[in-house]
């Protein structure tokens, strides 16, 4: 290898990791221009970028809402494909007009407005018991109502996954008990139920089973979350097994204590 390729390789390694400072970026550009059609440079760049891209695979994958893929392939624009993106009333109306299948979350929101107020009322009641800090405003059919609880030591975590609906957990680190509430969840099927797991040191510890009624769940689990860093939900037989038999449909990462 020529000596100047050593320096180019060093710069390309930093560039592949998006870690070059501006001065080094300029130096690399100048070196590449000076080399012209340099096959060795191109090979080094390709191989280092390949390595950098592969580093991502050392991470534990995160559940992704598959509805994003549906909306992309059906021509949804970038904003409408986002779950939970803040949506103005005008934008919501515009999306409703664009959406024909009702599969977008925005469409689900509008269709479920009546139900939402009841669900949120239940959420607020449960969350207050868990002493989580929740501020909620609803404007469906009545003046805005704001409910606040003051204990900021509590944490509220939302689950992500490939199923419709929403599942949220409230807990206070170091204290016993966690509250789960959900809405819009699909029926797990006959003879099946949702089971909650706390992943401790790589081992799933059962946290209880629950079956939604009209898509809604409200559950108190009298366990200490303690060192748990990941929560998962699977669909299991109603016998509620002590070890998971299926892959998770929802997961939530917890901040360490």
């Amino acid at each position: 290898m020529m000596p100047d390729h050593e320096r180019i390789e060093e710069l390309l390694a930093g560039q592949a990791l998006d870690g070059l400072d501006a001065g080094d970026e300029r130096e690399l550009r100048a070196a590449r221009e000076a080399h012209g059609e340099c096959g060795e440079c191109a090979r080094l760049e390709r191989e280092l970028r390949e390595v950098a891209g592969l580093l991502a695979f050392s991470l534990t994958p995160a559940p992704v809402d598959r509805a994003i893929a549906d909306r992309i392939t059906r021509g949804g624009d970038a904003a409408s494909a986002l779950p939970d993106a803040p949506v103005s009333g005008d934008e919501l109306a515009a999306r409703r007009a664009r959406t024909t299948r009702g599969s977008g979350r925005g469409a689900r929101r509008s269709a479920g407005d009546g139900r939402r107020s009841q669900v949120w009322t239940a959420i607020v009641g449960v969350a207050a018991v868990a002493a989580a800090a929740i501020v909620l405003t609803t404007t469906v059919g009545r003046p805005p109502v704001q409910v606040t609880s003051a204990d900021v030591a509590g944490r509220v975590v939302r689950f992500d996954g490939g199923v419709d609906g929403s599942l949220t957990m409230a807990y206070t680190p170091g204290e016993r008990g966690a509250v789960f509430w959900g809405h819009g969840l699909p029926d797990p099927g006959e003879g099946r139920t949702y089971e909650i797991w706390m992943i401790d040191d790589g081992t799933p510890v059962p946290g209880g089973c629950t079956t939604p009624v009209d898509g809604r769940i409200a559950l108190f689990v009298p366990a200490e979350i303690g060192t748990t860093e990941l929560m998962a939900v699977t669909v299991e037989p109603t016998e509620c097994p002590s070890e998971p038999t299926t892959d998770p449909v929802l997961t939530a990462e917890l901040e360490p204590l």
């Binding site: 390595v51 695979f57 991470l59 809402d65 994003i68």
Partner: protein, 203 residues
């Protein structure tokens, strides 16, 4: 796993997936939805994990993943097969956008101080393989983790701070207290070693 065996296994796993992905992208050019969904299912969970690791916000991470896959769906010709694998190209785009987002928000310094100590061993740590293996590319994950584990810790630390925390080499030097030249040389040595482990490319 012995290094030689790891290299052979890595080449088998990675090149097998490459060929399938190239075929999927070719089908994508004909707007094949099934091909798109296969790529999405295979790589979106890792892409989201990467974005989330860097930006530390679930919603923003999902936005980045969506942007990258939307671009793939709309412009599959944006991928040039002569410049590397589909998966590395996708992860490169996700990484670039995530790092851009972090640097744009100038939240970088605040995050770096609090995260430097707590996150260095996270990529190799695995708290839930038993339940998350089904989420995207488990074979690749094992191979890459094994390769990272083979790195000397001082090289791995530098790579992880740059890649997973989005630090520039100068910022890595400040965070670790190392001379900038040492950071650069460790970056190069670490990347060379990973290249041999993952690609079987002899230097």
């Amino acid at each position: 796993m012995p290094t030689a065996l790891l290299e052979i296994r890595a080449v088998e796993i990675l090149s097998g997936a490459d060929a399938q992905d190239q075929d999927l992208v070719a089908r994508l050019r004909a707007s094949d939805e099934e091909a798109f969904r296969t790529l999405f299912d295979r790589y979106a969970p890792t892409a989201k994990a990467l974005a989330q690791r860097i930006v530390r916000q679930t919603h923003l991470a999902e936005e980045i993943v969506q942007e990258v896959f939307l671009a793939l769906w709309r412009s599959p010709d944006g991928y040039d097969g002569t410049r590397g694998s589909v998966r590395s190209w996708l992860m490169g785009r996700v990484h670039h956008r995530a790092v851009d987002a972090v640097r744009r928000e100038e939240a970088h310094r605040r995050r770096a101080d609090s995260l430097a100590a707590e996150t260095r061993d996270e990529p190799a740590a695995d708290h839930a393989d038993a339940v998350v293996d089904a989420l995207g590319a488990p074979a690749e994950r094992r191979v890459v983790r094994a390769a990272l584990d083979e790195l000397p810790v001082e090289q791995r630390e530098v790579l992880e701070l740059m890649y997973f925390d989005g630090l520039t080499q100068t910022q890595v030097a400040k965070t670790t207290g190392l001379p900038l030249g040492t950071v650069k040389s460790r970056t190069l040595l670490g990347m060379r070693r990973m290249r041999v482990s993952l690609g079987g490319w002899e230097r």
